[in-house]
Symmetry: C2
Subunit: 348 residues, 2 copies
Amino acid sequence: MSQKPVTMADIARHAGVSKATVSAVVNGKDSVGDETRVRVQAVIDHFNYRPRSAARLHGDAARPCIGYIIKEARNPYYAEALDGILSVAQAAGYLVEVASSEGDLERERAIVEQFTAQDISGLVITPILHEDADLSHLFELKRLNVPFVLVERVRGLQASLVDIDNVEAARAATRHLLADGHRAIVHFAGPPYSSHSEERARGVRLAFSESRRAFEDAGVVHAGDALEDGYRAALERFGEAGDRPTAVVCYNDLVALGVVRALRELGLRVPEDVSVMGFDDLDILDYLSPALSTVHVPKREMGERAARLLIEQIESRGHAQPERITLPVELKLRGSTAPPAEAASPTP
Amino acid sequence: MSQKPVTMADIARHAGVSKATVSAVVNGKDSVGDETRVRVQAVIDHFNYRPRSAARLHGDAARPCIGYIIKEARNPYYAEALDGILSVAQAAGYLVEVASSEGDLERERAIVEQFTAQDISGLVITPILHEDADLSHLFELKRLNVPFVLVERVRGLQASLVDIDNVEAARAATRHLLADGHRAIVHFAGPPYSSHSEERARGVRLAFSESRRAFEDAGVVHAGDALEDGYRAALERFGEAGDRPTAVVCYNDLVALGVVRALRELGLRVPEDVSVMGFDDLDILDYLSPALSTVHVPKREMGERAARLLIEQIESRGHAQPERITLPVELKLRGSTAPPAEAASPTP
DNA sequence: GGCCTCCCCGGGAGCGCTCCCGAAACAAAT
DNA sequence: ATTTGTTTCGGGAGCGCTCCCGGGGAGGCC
């Protein structure tokens, strides 16, 4: 298995030249004769030699590069935030590398290690945070003085953060439905490893509990963060007979789209029979019909702010203080929410 | 600007210890006394020292890692392909890093350099290919013996490739519309830097030219690859009075969704007034209404095959032959295409 | 008080590579 | 024939770090 790595000295020996000459050939210097070049190149090709550039520690410093760790490659949310990061990073001459943990803590840990082993300049991290997750790799980052910015709150970790007030946002969205007269509202919550999910669920519950009018809590269902999750959850919840919620607050827009599809298949109309509220305001929503009511999250701006914060931190050489930025959200009411049929007309 | 980088020797000097001790502290070895550890750590913190791990060239080899270079972070197409790459790579113990060129050749070049400077194990590349683009960085990869797999054809570059037959696919899609009786078809082509775009346009033209029935070529319009591009192009093309195409073949699904929105705003019905054909078959399409007719591209499988090919190449230590895989596509007819009004009901 | 541990720590070699500089080898100019 | 120049190559130092090993100091035991 573990072949001995072929080194530049090996090539030099086999080609009957010095290491310096091999180095010159590898780097395309013009200070080497054609005959020698060909001979050395042949040996290189034969051994399939590739210089371990890790060893080349002087000379041109690596281009500064920041890493972005996301949780779900398939959620356009991150692509939009990436857009913001890219615009700022590019302007500042930084490269951006993205890695997805796909919701797996061990993968996140491996990614962080990989990045630090590559002397990355800094990281923007969407951390995995399920109950008693081992966050040692994040603390490790602090110990190694690797600049990083979080885009999701981590309890007990003193670090820069760019986020929205998820509790308040979810609360506002739910309040709106309550004000519209909905009395049975269900919340399709996100994945357990996300603090965003937990916070949004908390906001929904807060709105539930503060509701003074007659209200039957239709509960919180653990759904997920993908299209299929919303679809499945809605088929299950609305497929059963009896009490049917009149509104659903979703963890995010993808879940909401899944719900809309399920409702359509179940023969329920949106918003006449069921109101659906999303979260995030993905770009694509503008292009759909019916348009989804949702909470607008300034993803692009969050990416920009995170990148700016990170670059400040990098260029201050770690002497910048951690900073916390909370960006405002906005309720976007479009076509997928309306007062419930019963409440719409009567009770003036 | 260019601060002198603080090295381990600096820390050792200021702490009054040896480099070895500093190294031990940095790596959390337990062979160092508490008092010394604290003192050294203090100096490290003060100077904000971070070991240049590039210099640590023995010991634990870096985790094998493959890079994926995409063209457009915001296109879910790549996210779905990434899904396939991730599943194979993860199973084989590889990490995946994604970088987006955002359609910019210089950025692509910088990314490739960055990756090779990091001793990446291999690359999956979606190359930028506009007319007489300078592809020297790709040839450079061959020279450096860096394994890589393309997922878009590059003329004149002998390398592994996983792709579909874009010409044939676009031709089939257009043929279908022709067979349905459409006589004025417009093609909204993709960005100029993409060979996929060029090939698909070629396929459309082929279908045009082979059509035996009376047919007015409504032309090829240069649109782009994003939602807004399709939206803009459709507003322009269908906003004008006079000859109105009865069908549009789009470069991809995003463009098609943009077109659908524009048509809706213009008061045109899909598919009654205009048929819209997409390309790619994004996951989200299943969740939309009306569902989009499109060409199903096996993105996930393409990602899997590309990753598998790449890993074979890596583990054969460069002695594997380049291989070309062409995967089949499938026409997915859903709700956005139909025979044109005139042809459907022959004027009763 | 002598001796043997054990624990810390420092000295120094070595990693694979690149750079600087000078030695050959040959050509051209005086 | 000597000088000057040019091209091509090798020797060797040095990069920042880690590992091995051996030396010294503190403490325990007789």
